[in-house]
Amino acid sequence: MKDFAYVRAGDVTTALRAIAAEPGAAFIGGGTNLVDLMRQDIERPGTVIDITTLPLDEIEETADGGVRVGALVRNSHLAAHPLIRTRYPVLSQAILTGASAQLRNMATVGGNLLQRTRCLYFYDGAAACNKRRPGSGCDALEGFNRNHAILGASDACVATHPSDMCVALAALDATVEVESVRGTRRIPLVDFHRLPGDTPDVETAIAADELVTAVELPASPIAVNSRYRKVRDRASYAFALVSVAAALEVRDGTVAGVRLALGGVAAKPWRAREAERILLDAPATEESFRRAAAAELASATGLSQNAFKIELARRAIVATLSRLLTDGSAA
């Protein structure tokens, strides 16, 4: 790991000034991804600004019945919080399927948003990767791409976003609050991560000098009946091949409301708007779920090793919605 300067920011303003003064600096929260990337010589910040003591670790109910989550709330804390477990079970479940208990104890909400892809070629400095070295090419296109994107990819990049938490946040219409010396702004979670296009190195809508300060969950009665399903190669400590975050409200056998997002399929958490459109006001049956899943994945394309994910995603959507019907949020 390259030598770096370390400073600890005592308050948000100091942190924002520090990063504004040094464009190559990086904030460090839990460090569960950043430190790995620094060890791999992929991230090379000249200065690391420790923000772990900033007062951004509260989970509060908002006036409109939503929940505001500070950016430094630890993943394990968020997953265990009664407000989250009762009102947004999908979020609690999603977090608990991620990483390991030790990592969740360290990882922060803000850091989870900003974690980087697990593409094998991104991690190997000897490989071509447009995300790591723009213009160098993409070794994953014809290489090991079993875990890669089936939606929204480009010739430049086929990597996926690895977060589970973000998939739930996408389904829940969460908003990300970011702050810089220039002020505060809010970015809908679904717009926070970007598809690769020609610039896969630009992964999020956040500017280099901005700090994630909070994630806001709107009041969402439908989210009480929600669940997260992660499909992976081993029972724990593996990234999703496909994951599904879903919330469902059924009245008189008809879908009165639905939220659906997919993980492991694209460079961003994939909000399944097309499936939601088809499901709304449709009979709450497996047949409808199948139709919606097929429509959402109509534009999906497989690479040499990951075409199975298209079928897997269809099945995971149908299975998750079906379980919501029968078992609700219960594990």
Binding site: A127, D139, E142, F308
Partner: protein, 766 residues
């Protein structure tokens, strides 16, 4: 994970006072308290740290190596490359007459050549004042290559495989009758192709070396499975006498075969210490282990079986293709079990090899049989289904009385009894045979079974045993402890043989200054040491009796050893008088009495080696010796996603006498855990474009996690093998064999799908 204690039905005469008991391992306290010191934990004044730079091409020549950037990092002491490294001698030629010549990891003379032979070969070593500086500076070394065409894809090269030559230790092919003709004539048959991927080592302790030169004397701290091989190999490479080298390895954090050979890290740490004149430590990164330590070969296998309508096998064909590196590695006995498991009328086994521009393959827990039993035992299950026979019944109909391939006697074989015991504990009779017929809620449930099989080995072991006047016993033997409980088992054996308390015995091991022990391999270490230890204890008792008989005051005067019993710290007539060892020594004015078995003089070593080969060949002519067992598993398969989860396991083993019920069960259970990884998730991703391992780490190379492992019930028959010391058969490897097949068979039972390509990932079941 819940664990059930291994149980064994009592068998008279199979064990002594302590042998067989679940005694806590003697090193447990040191390990759990952190007092145990591993190779990378020895402090030395002036210690420097080394890091490797790996090649990024599979084959080529270094045309430029830019080290200024690395050398400029504060704290860097040296950047060693082929341009400035001192000369080393090439690896000694391999010979079965000198077993330590087998220690060569690769034949590459590191940093003495500009040639690159595999993607990941070390091309430079950076030595620095700190670990961090060394690792960072290593990233700054810039290497340019002239690339040569390389052959790195196993699958593409498979058609060019060449038959494996036989040598004294291994045979590449064998046959009985005309198996192809018998297959063609068989009324019921299967002819199947199986494939398994490369696997890599992931011991909890990555390889580490601390090397210290004192003039021309060298001390090496190294986690190894063979201190003598490390010593001899380093002596050959650095041109100094083996007697000038001491290799110390009291604790090894897991090895599984990966610490048997001498790999680049060890040699280059010693080189770095010589260049810098400082004690040097190198801890390989996890990636470094993948790039410089070999793994298990990938394989392509054909298993064809023919049977009559009566369910008797008429033909068994098992052929394999595996990989070696052009710079090293060797054949793995993929078809070994197929020569011994079934009484087929005609048998053909044949192993072939491809040679690739990759790192050598190397030993990994049950090399050959782990993947060979997958193919054979999955094919047997398929044929049983075709015959509409219960897979256990089918096996019992084909259980041989003598070794099928050549008619030799089995030294010991209780596979029938293992199946009976396992089936009872597992509840096999509750299984309904139709695929997809068992469910638990939404889960498809499958139950599968397969045979486990692994030959037993015995190697030379030199041992000294000293009995002191205070009643304590010191056993010294340079054997190895990678977590198996070897020292505990040998203390139990010595305490029983001498009739002293367990606590009175101290065992010294893991140091090349000790009498040369066996390497930890082939599941042979415990038996090998036990054989010499028992002889030594017998000698010691004779010497002790002789000493006592010299005194007119001894109640043992005029007694013969075979009329005495060793108990209560001495020799006693039954039920009459006797004497403690302490009393005998005190009367004789001796502080202690010591005996030796085997000799480490040059002549003694040659005699030992010759004796070993003679015994090995004699035994092989007379008997087939092996551990065997029956693996039972239950899996649950998600019908929507194809996810497979193992929900229950019973392993019933015939491993002769069990020395320590606790550590033996742990070994067998560990083998099963490793087999579950092999079956469901482990796969080294070698990019076929450039031979580069793309998942060199625990994040993306999926060993099982706790949540993947169900309760594992391990049981054994406890019946001694009359041809082995104390009747024991090694337990280190048999546990992994048959596991992948049992799972594949259970997956078929759950889903109706046959997956013949490991690992059984969910995409293969969609």
């Amino acid at each position: 994970m819940t664990l059930t204690q291994a149980q064994s039905p009592p068998r008279p005469g199979a064990s002594g006072r302590l042998v067989g008991k679940p005694i806590d391992r003697v090193d447990g306290g040191a390990k759990t308290s952190g007092a145990a010191r591993y190779a990378a934990e020895y402090p030395y004044p002036g210690l420097a740290y080394a890091a490797l730079v790996h090649s990024t091409v599979a084959r080529g020549r270094i045309t430029g190596i830019e080290t200024a950037g690395a050398a400029a990092v504060p704290g860097v002491l040296a950047v060693i490359t082929h341009e400035n490294a001192p000369a080393m001698k090439p690896a000694p030629p391999m010979s079965v007459l000198n077993l330590s010549s087998l220690a060569t990891g690769t034949r590459v003379n590191y940093l003495n050549t500009d040639e690159v032979h595999w993607n990941g070969q070390p091309v430079a070593v950076v030595v620095a004042e700190t670990q961090d500086a060394a690792l960072h500076a290593a990233t700054l070394v810039r290497v340019t290559y002239e690339e040569f065409a390389a052959t790195v894809g196993f699958t593409a090269e498979e058609p060019n495989a060449k038959p494996q030559k036989s040598d004294m230790l291994q045979s590449g092919s064998a046959s009985k009758g005309d198996a192809e003709a018998a297959l063609a004539a068989a009324p019921v048959s299967v002819d199947l192709r199986f494939t398994t991927p490369q696997h890599n080592h992931n011991a909890i302790e990555p390889h580490a070396t601390t090397a210290v030169w004192d003039g021309d004397r060298l001390t090496v701290h190294e986690g190894t499975q063979n201190v003598a091989w490390v010593r001899d190999h380093l002596a050959a490479r650095f041109g100094i006498p083996a007697g000038s080298i001491r290799v110390i390895s009291p604790y090894v954090g897991g090895a599984f075969g990966g610490k048997t050979m001498v790999w680049a890290g060890t040699i280059l740490t010693v080189l770095a210490a010589r260049v810098t004149g400082r004690p040097v430590r190198m801890m390989l990164t996890r990636e470094g282990v993948y790039r410089t330590v070999g793994g298990r070969t990938p394989s392509a296998q054909r298993v064809a079986l023919g049977a009559g309508a009566d369910g008797r096998l008429t033909s068994l064909i098992h052929t394999s293709v595996t990989q070696v590196g052009r710079v090293g590695g060797g054949p793995e006995q993929v078809t070994s079990q197929s020569r011994h498991l079934y009484d087929a009328g005609a048998i053909l086994v044949r192993q072939s090899l491809v040679e690739l521009d990759t790192l050598s393959n190397t030993i990994m827990r049950a090399p050959g049989e782990s993947i060979g039993t997958f193919a054979l035992e999955a094919a047997v299950d398929e044929l049983a289904y075709k015959l509409d026979l219960d897979p256990i019944e089918f096996r019992m109909r084909n259980e041989p009385e003598r070794n099928p391939i050549d008619g030799k006697r089995f030294a010991h074989r209780m596979l029938r009894e293992a199946y009976a015991l396992g089936a009872e504990r597992f509840g096999w009779s509750a299984r309904t045979p139709e695929p997809g017929s068992m469910r638990d809620g939404r889960w498809l449930v499958g139950m599968g079974v397969a045979s486990a099989y692994h030959p037993s080995w015995q190697l030379p072991a030199n041992v000294t045993v000293r009995l002191s006047a205070d009643g304590t016993v010191l056993v010294r033997c340079g054997f190895h402890e990678m977590g198996m409980g070897g020292a505990t088992a040998q203390a139990q054996i010595a305490a029983d043989a001498l009739g002293v308390p367990f606590e009175a015995v101290r065992v010294e091991y893991g140091d090349s200054v000790l009498p040369t022990g066996p390497g930890a391999g082939g599941s042979g270490q415990t038996a090998s040491v036990a054989a010499s230890l028992l002889t030594a204890c017998e000698k010691l008792k004779r010497s002790m009796l002789a000493l006592a008989r010299r005194s007119s005051g001894s109640p043992l005067r005029g007694r013969r050893l075979n009329g005495l019993r060793a108990r209560d710290g001495g020799l006693w007539t039954e039920p009459g008088p006797g004497e403690t060892y302490a009393a005998i020594l005190a009367r004789a004015g001796r502080p202690h009495l010591e005996v030796a078995v085997g000799s480490d003089t040059r002549v003694g070593a040659m005699v030992g080696q010759a004796r070993f080969m003679a015994k090995f060949l004699r035994d092989r002519r007379r008997w087939m010796k092996a551990a065997c067992g029956a693996q039972f598993c239950e899996v649950r398969v998600d019908p929507d996603t194809g996810e497979v989860r193992v929900s229950r396991w019973v392993g019933a083993f015939d491993v002769g006498t069990v020395i320590n019920a606790k550590t033996a069960a742990a070994q067998l259970r560990g083998g099963i855990v490793m087999g579950i990884g092999m079956a469901l998730s482990e796969e080294t991703l070698v990019d076929p474009r450039n031979g580069r391992i793309m998942n060199p780490g625990l994040g993306e190379y999926h060993v099982p996690v706790h949540a993947d492992i169900p309760p594992i019930d391990v049981c054994y028959l406890g019946d001694p093998d009359p041809t082995m010391p104390l009747g024991l058969i090694g337990v280190g490897e048999v546990g992994i064999t048959g596991v992948a097949a049992a799972i594949a068979n259970a997956v078929h039972h759950a889903t109706g799908r046959r997956v013949r390509d490991l690992p059984i990932t969910l995409d293969k079941l969609l």
